[in-house]
Symmetry: C2
């Protein structure tokens, strides 16, 4: 089959995607395939191919040579498809329960063929519809403990870890994060988007030198601290879920960075629901607590049983590491809360609130909480203090 | 000339090294070349080729596929020759005054052809002979400010810097540092070497959990903090000098790590002279102060005039960065003082002291100072406090 041996990139169509799926023998004999392109067209094509005889499906994801994010367009190389495929394979080998299975990858076509997850829903969409996914936080705590331990110097040993750092150098996608999370929201950048009712609050934030100092420190950590292989974009739009399953998708932003970044993105995206979802308020606070408690417990277990760095296996150093992850996570949580409120890429949790007064009030809370977490992350020393701080702005 | 097109590695001889120099047209017409292999045979062959007509010379350095360090043998790939050549070119483009000029590199032969520095002496050897090199610390401060600024995110911009991180991933040579500096001296490892008279002191050090905690923190920084392109082995045996010139050689340990590591190695190797060289004691304290003062002043200037990260250009954040570099440098100074006293690779500054009592007293001082700097690096907040701490153990 020619597509498998293709030597130049070409975007797939529904027809050629179906041909590719057939050539890979992913279905039983004589399947009756139907194919639909279901991507949002911003960064990738996504083909959902189903055998109508038994409803078995696969997903074919193909990178496009550019990115559109809310109207902005970046040229992007196709290398990111290889990074995403490599990251899916790495995370899948570490935490198979929480990562879609990969059937085939092709660097020339920038294609990954993987497990069909259409029985699940994107967690953010589910939350907005009123779902609460009771096992989500248990699963994410477990996913985080495994991926953040087994990709580190302590889980891999320093030599193999360095080869992984080299493999996952990802300047293009990191630049998007560096600009949209750590730069643009903190001055009057063209990319920012916020409603008129927030202008006074936003202008005060731009003048807050203490806040900007801390954001520089956090950005430096993002730029320099190659602790673990991060997912790099672990918001609730990158998580598929139902009441029993959780799958983390789309790791094209993967690179070696500070562990607290992934944890912070999970915290922040749960906090949007804590702030906007009055009905399930307590459940989402519980989710926050469970993510950290499960992460901490399982990370400690891995540290004590799987550590490749013999001299590092002391409880004092383990506690130092966990305290650092927690402090970093709070800072990155704050950055994510702020940028999703006033930066280029918003979240539907906030923007879908119809009533202006309620919406503005929620956004003021995310901005306030974001600032507090960034500035006071060293003083907020444990989960109880964190939850107390959250409740203080509600 | 066949050597230039060689497709497989072979070790050079004095004859083939001369042929290579001729083929490169590095000399005037009809030179009368003589060649001598002057390496120590541990890691590399080093050929010194001189045109006897005008005494003009070149150095040809070739990596060997193994490393011998004080009797231990490691297999090492030849990739390190490429890292060394690339690092010489990078540092040479940033601080040409302080780096030997490179005339030719060949990755297949693992060869670098470079400037002849035989009019200079290895600084450590000069110090032991009584030289003090009045400009050395001014030059090293300048070298450090330039290399540690222009290879960082702030000097290069984050995207180019990431490509440099990728290019300089150096697992093999880093492992030597990780083992010999951060692991082995802190437990009863076979590689350690120390005289019987130190055993009580060394055993106390192995039982010092507070010290080992801090060494774990410093090793984590070495493993994860990709701040700048480090020389990675910046002791006084990697520095050629005379009263007017200073050249930093042998960057085969180069990789992206914490800026304080290079600064700390310079501090530690000057401290050996502060401790053993009673006659020039004050001069070497001045050298220590000058390294930091010149580094700090010139780094500040570069930060304010050449910074690629617009939002980072605040004096608060600059002071935070300098305080971090200083604190890290003190910790790494302590590690170097200890490992050069009891680890595998010693320094002649200490070992060449003939009288046992004086030698043991000096070694007890380096161990004591090392421990204090590692444990109290956060409290020793400035140069004055550092010099005070040093004087406290003399």
């Amino acid at each position: 089959m020619s597509l498998l041996k293709q030597t130049t990139y070409q975007p797939l169509t529904e027809t050629s995607a179906t041909e590719l799926a057939l050539a890979l023998n992913l279905f039983s004999d004589n399947p009756e395939l139907s194919c639909k392109e279901i991507g949002d067209g911003n960064l990738n094509l996504v083909f959902h191919i189903v055998d109508d005889k038994n409803r078995k499906g696969v997903i074919i994801k193909q990178a496009l040579p550019y990115a559109k994010v809310v109207g902005e367009s970046w040229p992007l190389t196709l290398k990111r498809a290889k990074i995403e495929a490599d990251a899916l394979l790495t995370f899948g080998s570490i935490a198979p329960k929480y990562v879609p299975e990969v059937y085939y990858t092709n660097d020339v076509l920038a294609v990954t063929v993987m497990e069909d997850l259409s029985h699940l829903l994107i967690a953010r969409k589910g939350f907005i519809k009123g779902e609460t996914y009771p096992l989500l936080s248990q699963h994410l705590g477990e996913y985080l403990s495994k991926t953040l331990f087994f990709t580190s110097d302590y889980g891999l040993g320093p030599s193999i870890k360095k080869e992984q750092v080299q493999k996952f150098i990802n300047p293009e996608l990191c630049k998007i994060t560096e600009d949209l999370i750590f730069n643009d929201p903190f001055f009057d950048a063209e990319t920012n988007e916020f409603e008129a009712g927030l202008r006074t609050t936003v202008e005060a934030l731009w003048k807050d030198d203490e806040l900007k100092f801390h954001v520089n420190v956090l950005k430096k950590s993002f730029l320099t601290e190659a602790e673990v292989l991060l997912h790099g974009d672990l918001h609730t739009g990158s998580i598929f879920a139902n009441d029993s399953e959780t799958k983390v998708i789309d790791p094209e932003f993967a690179f070696y960075g500070p562990a607290g970044f992934d944890i912070g993105q999970v915290f922040a995206n749960l906090l949007f629901q804590v702030i906007v979802n009055e009905q399930n308020h307590v459940l989402f606070i519980n989710h926050l607590e469970t993510v950290w408690n499960v992460f901490e417990e399982q990370y400690k277990h891995l540290w004590n049983t799987e550590n490749k760095e013999n001299l590092a296996q002391t409880s004092t150093f383990l506690n130092y590491i966990l305290a650092k992850f927690f402090e970093d996570a709070l800072g990155f949580t704050g950055c994510e809360l702020i940028r999703r409120t006033i930066g280029l890429a918003h979240v539907a949790d906030l923007d879908s609130i119809e009533e202006e007064k309620t919406r503005l009030a929620a956004k003021r809370k995310t901005l306030e909480l974001g600032g507090i977490l960034i500035k006071q992350r060293k003083e907020i020393k444990n989960l109880g203090a964190f939850i107390g701080t959250v409740k203080g702005v509600l």
